[in-house]
């Protein structure tokens, strides 16, 4: 499957080779430049996994990224679980493949949905997401913006139990609390306990309930009308298989003479990467190979902007309530700069103005020539 970047460079009018040269500006190579720079810089991605314990979350993360982040994990016993509260655990790993570096952060939520009384068990998770937004907001409004650490959660994989008849009340509660803050990708976990007809029915049921409860899960972007048929077909299949029914595996087994990642049962072998067995390949392609950047964009452009607008509105409404300060400009929570930094800022401002004037003069000179 070709996952290459698609660029179209349209020449204005085909004419003689000499003319083309004159009309060809040459910015069609920009994506390649971006590509080279990104390879040097590397990417970062924050993924949250949420769902009841025992749904195969750690196994799936292992299968997706082929790294064992949970080597030292100790499973809690039943007594310890009785007093457990929802925690937030972060694991970071650096993955490199063909020269491209990815700094992957997995945010785990052990304890979610495990207690007898699970009221508001999503609150710690919601607070964590808000905290990351707030930290980014502060960093963005600060002075030194070169090395901002982006810890915002780009995607949340929510694991739905395959044993229910659809969404459970906890699932609905979680998704409604977080759908405006993070991209939610619902998954049907442990899909190897379902026969194909059950999988189909469950997916339909979940889709209906998501509509009914007004939950906004991550929508795959529409592909352009001038894409080739292959790509459009893939995109359609992707949209139709949501929510993905996934299986994860930490072990490699022998199936038909080949070594595959799978689960060995007395009645057969489930292959994780077999499209007829589960949607793992679709999920991996979507998450990593085709939609990773879109997930980050939606987080920055939609969820973060919503948070920012909401935050600023709250601040202005608070300030207009104190009738002392009346300012039409929204006031950012900047630390009040001291006299020295103010002088520096003024000097830099003047420098900028001088440089802009010089640029203008140069442009004029070029046009006159």
């Amino acid at each position: 499957m070709s996952t290459g970047l698609r660029y179209k460079s349209k020449l204005a009018t085909p004419g003689e080779p000499g003319d083309i040269d004159k009309q060809y500006v040459g910015f069609a190579t920009l994506p390649n430049q971006v590509h080279r720079k990104s390879v040097k810089k590397g990417f970062d991605f924050t993924l949250m996994v949420a769902g009841e314990s025992g749904l195969g979350k750690s196994t799936l993360v292992h299968s997706l990224f082929l790294t064992d982040l949970y080597k030292d994990r100790k499973l809690l016993s039943a007594e310890e679980r009785i007093n457990q509260t929802v925690e937030i655990l972060k694991h970071t790993v650096d993955i490199e493949e063909k020269g491209v570096k990815l700094k992957l952060t997995i945010v785990d939520t052990p304890g979610f949905g495990d207690a007898v009384n699970n009221s508001e068990c999503w609150k710690p998770i919601s607070d964590y997401v808000d905290q990351q937004f707030e930290q980014y907001f502060r960093d963005e409004s600060g002075l030194n913006r070169k090395n901002i650490q982006d810890n915002r959660v780009h995607c949340c994989l929510y694991f739905i139990s395959p044993f229910g008849h659809g969404l459970r009340p906890v699932d609905v509660g979680f998704m409604k609390a977080l759908h405006e803050k993070v991209n939610i990708v619902p998954l049907i976990a442990k899909a190897d306990c379902l026969v194909p007809s059950e999988t189909r029915k469950l997916k339909e049921r979940i889709r209906e309930e998501i509509d009914k409860f007004g939950i906004h899960v991550y929508q795959f972007p529409e592909c352009d009308s001038d894409e080739d048929e292959d790509f459009k077909q893939q995109d359609r299949e992707l949209k139709e298989s949501a929510p993905f029914a996934v299986i994860g595996s930490n072990t490699v087994v022998e199936a038909k003479g080949q070594r595959v990642r799978g689960r060995l049962y007395p009645w057969g072998i489930v292959e994780v990467e077999n499209q007829a067995h589960c949607d793992f390949v679709k999920l991996r392609n979507m998450l990593i190979r085709t939609h990773m950047h879109d997930l980050k964009d939606v987080t920055c452009d939609v969820h973060y902007e919503n948070y920012r607008a909401h935050c600023i509105q709250q601040m202005t409404s608070k300030l207009t309530q104190d009738s002392r300060m009346e300012s039409p400009i929204p006031i950012l929570p900047l630390p009040t700069p001291d006299a020295e930094t103010e002088k520096l800022i003024r000097m830099k401002d003047e420098e900028l103005r001088r440089m802009q004037e010089m640029l203008q003069k140069m442009k004029q000179q070029m046009q006159d020539q």
Binding site: S53, G54, A78, P196, W267
Partner: protein
């Protein structure tokens, strides 16, 4: 299905003589037991007590049996399918809550009664389902409606029993067995499971099973099972077959074998598929067919044998002799009167909802738990 009457009647009668010399029972259609054959002109070698077994058997055939099962577990764990598979008949239609119907806020139990017949023997089977158990966000005290129901049945029986003119055969609606479905997380028992099991094991026979076991490989299954067994031990949860009710060495051996495998990893199916020319009950996936009655695939045959073929009568006996008696003792102590012959005994009205608050914990059971904690080694 196979009702093996001879085994279950054996234990009640304390048969004189070795067990293997059991006489073959006559066909169920005969109304008179055949007399023991004695060679002429010889002292009879036996008195002929074995014939009593036959009489009992005939009577049982006429009367039929009653069996009440309760299935408890979160929705979607295959309870209705399991009941259908166990009794090989559509006892329940697979229930799917309708779209838009909110999950009921309180647990609502409902029972279905069927009469199943096999080889001339009638079984009046009552299955009680508990939809909505453990499905809410806040599942605090979701076990109380179940406990109330069980105690209600005991109460009904008690009221019938203390009447002056009693019915010849008191209708038995007491729950003989509660099958608890544990979700196959592969980790260990959840807090909800522990809370429920602790409370119910004191009142009724509980058989925990690992539901939808087709999502666990064999190694995962064994690891899960041993963790559950450890959890059960550390919380003093005595599931059926209870160790302290073993009557003799034979029982202990038989039951120990069962206790090693509890909880059974079961898969239920109500559809048939063709495998190697045979028609089997199973689930057909893209990577193979899971045969429900194949011991290499799942332990459903063990559950079926336990509940129906070998321990059905034992379940009823323990319910009647132990759980019901415990209830009765507590109730009568409450009303400060022992039933006397003449006179109508009025028991104080019972607040069934508080039954779980430890009132019906028999002192015997808590002592047994202390003993279990002091002697961690079981003689298997």
């Amino acid at each position: 299905m196979g009702f093996n009457l001879s085994n279950s009647w054996n234990r009640d009668l304390c048969v004189l003589g070795p067990m293997d010399s059991l006489r073959q029972s006559p066909s169920p259609c005969s109304s008179r037991p055949s007399s023991p054959r004695t060679p002429p002109c010889e002292m009879p070698a036996s008195v002929g007590i074995e014939a009593v077994l036959d009489q009992l058997k005939i009577k049982a055939m006429k009367m039929g049996f009653e069996f009440n099962v309760m299935v408890v577990g979160q929705s979607g764990l295959g309870k209705s399918t399991m009941v259908n598979t166990l009794f090989k008949s559509k006892v329940w239609k697979s229930t799917l809550p309708g779209l838009g119907v909110p999950t009921p806020q309180t647990l609502q139990l409902h029972s279905v009664t069927h009469v199943i017949e096999e080889k001339g023997l009638k079984l009046k089977l009552t299955v009680t389902d508990t939809p909505g158990f453990g499905d809410q966000i806040n599942n605090d005290k979701c076990w109380e409606p179940i406990l109330s129901y069980i105690n209600e049945q005991y109460e009904q029986y008690l009221q019938e029993e203390i009447l002056i003119t009693r019915q010849r055969h008191i209708p038995d609606t007491r729950v003989h067995c509660c099958v608890y479905f544990v979700p196959p997380t592969g980790h260990c028992l959840r807090p909800l499971d522990i809370e429920f099991l602790q409370r119910l094991c004191r009142t009724v026979n509980v058989v925990p099973v690992i539901a939808r076991a087709d999502s666990l490989t064999i190694e995962e299954r064994e690891a899960f099972r041993s963790r559950i067994q450890k959890d059960l031990k550390s919380h003093c949860i005595d599931v059926y077959p209870q160790k302290r009710f073993d009557e003799d060495a034979n029982d202990r051996i038989l039951n120990s074998k069962i206790r090693e495998r509890i909880p059974f990893a079961v898969v239920g199916a109500d559809q048939e598929h063709l495998v190697n020319g045979r028609c089997v009950l199973g689930r057909k996936t893209n990577w193979g067919i899971i045969e429900v009655e194949n011991m290499a695939h799942c332990e459903f045959p063990l559950l079926r044998d336990l509940l129906i073929r070998s321990h059905l009568q034992d379940l009823k006996d323990i319910t009647h002799n132990i759980h019901y008696e415990n209830y009765r003792v507590v109730r009568l102590n409450e009303s400060h009167q022992l039933p006397r012959g003449p006179g109508w005994v009025n028991l104080a009205p019972m607040n069934l909802a508080h039954a779980s608050a430890g009132q019906l914990t028999s002192p015997r059971t808590s002592k047994a738990c202390k003993q279990a904690q002091e002697e961690p080694k079981y003689d298997f």
